[in-house]
Symmetry: C2
Subunit: 414 residues, 2 copies
């Protein structure tokens, strides 16, 4: 008699309940979460994850970049592990599923493998990467980028939030609460990485697919623009004498929006952060710092658009000065086709309908892709609403993705 | 033998030293002050003022709006007092002289009157009005507006700062430190009001006048604009589906700047405050709240410009919604000519060269003007730089203005 596959041990209710428990950490009045990287709420979420893992006999460990792992041991201690997870941090007005689902799905999949009584050859690590969102400390995907060697730990520790606190200081403060967790060397060989996530777009829901197989990730270039003017009195200073940083910065935003406009509506251009000094009604602004998030599925187009940013900002600076800093420049990527094919075959066996689709959002899988065969599974996200407290997904879709994940992780670890 | 006039007792050094002592409360690294209304630093400044006054035998008192008075008694207790002063609060990156000079000049003038041994018939009150700047609690000139009956104390106490603290709560907290100061009824008859201030413009310095006689105050309309959009993911949400509050708000600012542009450069249009939610790089902004400060010396023109604001904002709202709230609408005003003539005659007697000029900035004298004959004296402000930590003025100009003030206050009180 054949053993029952792990997928049959996946529990819709258990997965849903853990997601709802996790959503208490940083819960907002509108039903979302504010659980920014390395905050007290993020620490609470990590502590809960460690407890859930230890209850299943998984070994918790944490590296110097603040990435948290829960290991199901394999029969061959020398074989590189299979990794699966996502992130626990959220946007300031984020939803309950973005990131959290990938970690909870991996934990549920590992529990299902345990309950199926099959011993995988390779270890399987559930992982929660540090600071994927990048809203408090920019840019995002810090933990996975450092793990993959794409960014150094040293430079990452120096990044500061709006209050002037560094990643290094915030990590040390968090570490004090996680002293009972094993320390683990940063970076190590990985056999494969799979990340489950809500789609953050409307395609799967609209077309009725419970699971999507992600073909790749759209490229993204990010910038920080610093506009420097001069503080002056709103009543006395003449326009011709002013160096109004806010007037210059708003002209830059409008100039960028016009220059990057494409009729096909494929380019994604967002200024989400805009900080003014001294930010007082009757003082001409002396400084504005704003963010640019620019994405396009075609890497060459994205590079060409990104190359325009500096000159557009300079063209609209007026009497102010402007410095454009490029924070990150990631090309579009394609996951290995054999990984996608393996997922499709498993879903077919489970009679779960899937379609292939690209990811418009960035994910930690972007960096893991640089060091190991990587892949992603999507589940539907209601109306595509995300980075929003109204983000929602159904228990059955979340479980369908987890069923594919459970059998896939075991196959990858065998 | 004629008694020496109070002006001859004015001490350049004493005035300068008090101004420098006061600048320690809220001192910033760049040599300015951050002493916002009802802050701990503002309280320290008030305590210092009370001590200086008490050392001269002046009676300190405070009304329910947080206005602080130091009284030199007159020989006729039934005569309405003469008031002179300005404010102790500053912008977040303010200078050492804006407001502080008017209070210290009045104190120095009263000390000079005391030392001249002439007893005025009317009491003379040195006054520090609560929250002139309006950067923490908007709008400004709160204390003088409430004193003059232009705004109710009740509505003023409800105004909240960015942290949600109300004026009422902040006043109560400050009051705990000033419990040793007499309570005084809010509002009372005033015989005349004179406010000394730095010019906050370049005219007096450029033309070499140590003192300016202010003919009136330019009108000012202020607005708060609330733009509401919808949070969305910067990578996945299509432009056609977005309600980007930041894109709409920057279009409004640019639209306003274009529509309010005058070749003569007389209109003053400033957006100094601009707050974004959730203010994260990879989230389309769900809300922007920004300020508008609009001024013009001609009241009819100002009213016409102010009437355009709502429709310009509506025209640029795109898929977002916008609400324009008018916070204040003050016409331009002209001080009584007989007050200006009196000042000119005193300055002439003292051989201090003066010129008449209007005030482009708003001052507490705007509200006192509604209830008593009011006037202002200006002294030069280096390069007209103000609302800026680099604000500066010379000891001799500051003293020249105080000499005119001292003799004038005595004349008004006789």
């Amino acid at each position: 008699m054949m053993a029952r596959a792990p997928s049959s041990f996946v529990s819709d209710a258990r997965l849903w309940d853990r997601l709802q428990s996790l959503a208490q950490f940083g819960a907002t009045p509108l039903g979302g979460v504010n659980r920014q990287a390395l905050s007290a709420e993020d620490t609470e979420a990590q502590l809960a994850l460690v407890e859930w893992g230890q209850a299943l006999g998984l070994e918790a460990s944490r590296d110097d970049a603040g990435n948290l792992f829960l290991r199901l041991q394999g029969t061959d201690p020398d074989a590189a592990p299979v990794l699966s997870g996502s992130h626990l941090d959220s946007q300031p007005t984020g939803g309950r599923f973005d990131g959290a689902y990938g970690v909870m799905a991996a934990l549920e999949a590992v529990q299902a493998i345990l309950e199926s009584n099959v011993k995988p050859r390779r270890a399987i690590d559930v992982v929660a990467w540090m600071n994927e969102e990048g809203s408090r400390f920019a840019p995002g995907m810090m933990g996975s980028a450092v793990f993959a060697g794409d960014r150094t730990l040293e430079q990452t520790l120096l990044v500061r939030d709006a209050e002037g606190l560094s990643v290094g200081e915030a990590l040390a403060a968090q570490q004090a609460h996680l002293a009972h967790v094993l320390k683990r060397t940063l970076g190590h060989p990985v056999h494969a990485y799979v990340e489950a996530h809500i789609e953050q777009g409307p395609v799967l829901e609209r077309e009725g697919y419970p699971v999507g197989i992600v073909t790749g990730i759209q490229g993204k270039h990010t910038f920080q623009v610093l506009v420097t003017g001069e503080a002056a009195h709103a009543g006395t200073s003449r326009r011709c004498e002013r160096k109004d940083a806010l007037l210059a910065a708003t002209a830059m935003v409008q100039g960028l929006a016009a220059a990057l406009h494409d009729d096909a509506d494929v380019t994604r251009f967002t200024v989400g952060r805009f900080d003014v000094l001294p930010n007082a009604p009757s003082v001409v602004a002396s400084q504005v710092e704003f963010s640019i998030d620019l994405r396009h599925p075609d890497s060459a187009t994205l590079r060409a658009l990104g190359a325009m940013v500096d000159s557009i900002c300079q063209a609209h600076r007026g009497p102010c000065s402007v410095q454009v800093h490029r924070l990150s420049a990631a090309d579009s990527l394609r996951f290995p086709p054999h990984m996608c094919e393996q997922a499709a075959a498993i879903a077919k066996r489970l009679q779960i309908a899937t379609r292939e689709l690209p990811s418009a959002a960035g994910h930690d899988a972007r960096y893991l892709h640089k060091v190991t065969p990587s892949a992603m599974l999507f589940v539907p996200c209601h109306l595509g609403i995300t980075h929003n407290e109204a983000e929602s997904a159904t228990p059955s879709d979340l479980a369908a993705g987890t069923r594919v994940l459970a059998d896939w992780l075991l196959e990858l670890a065998s």
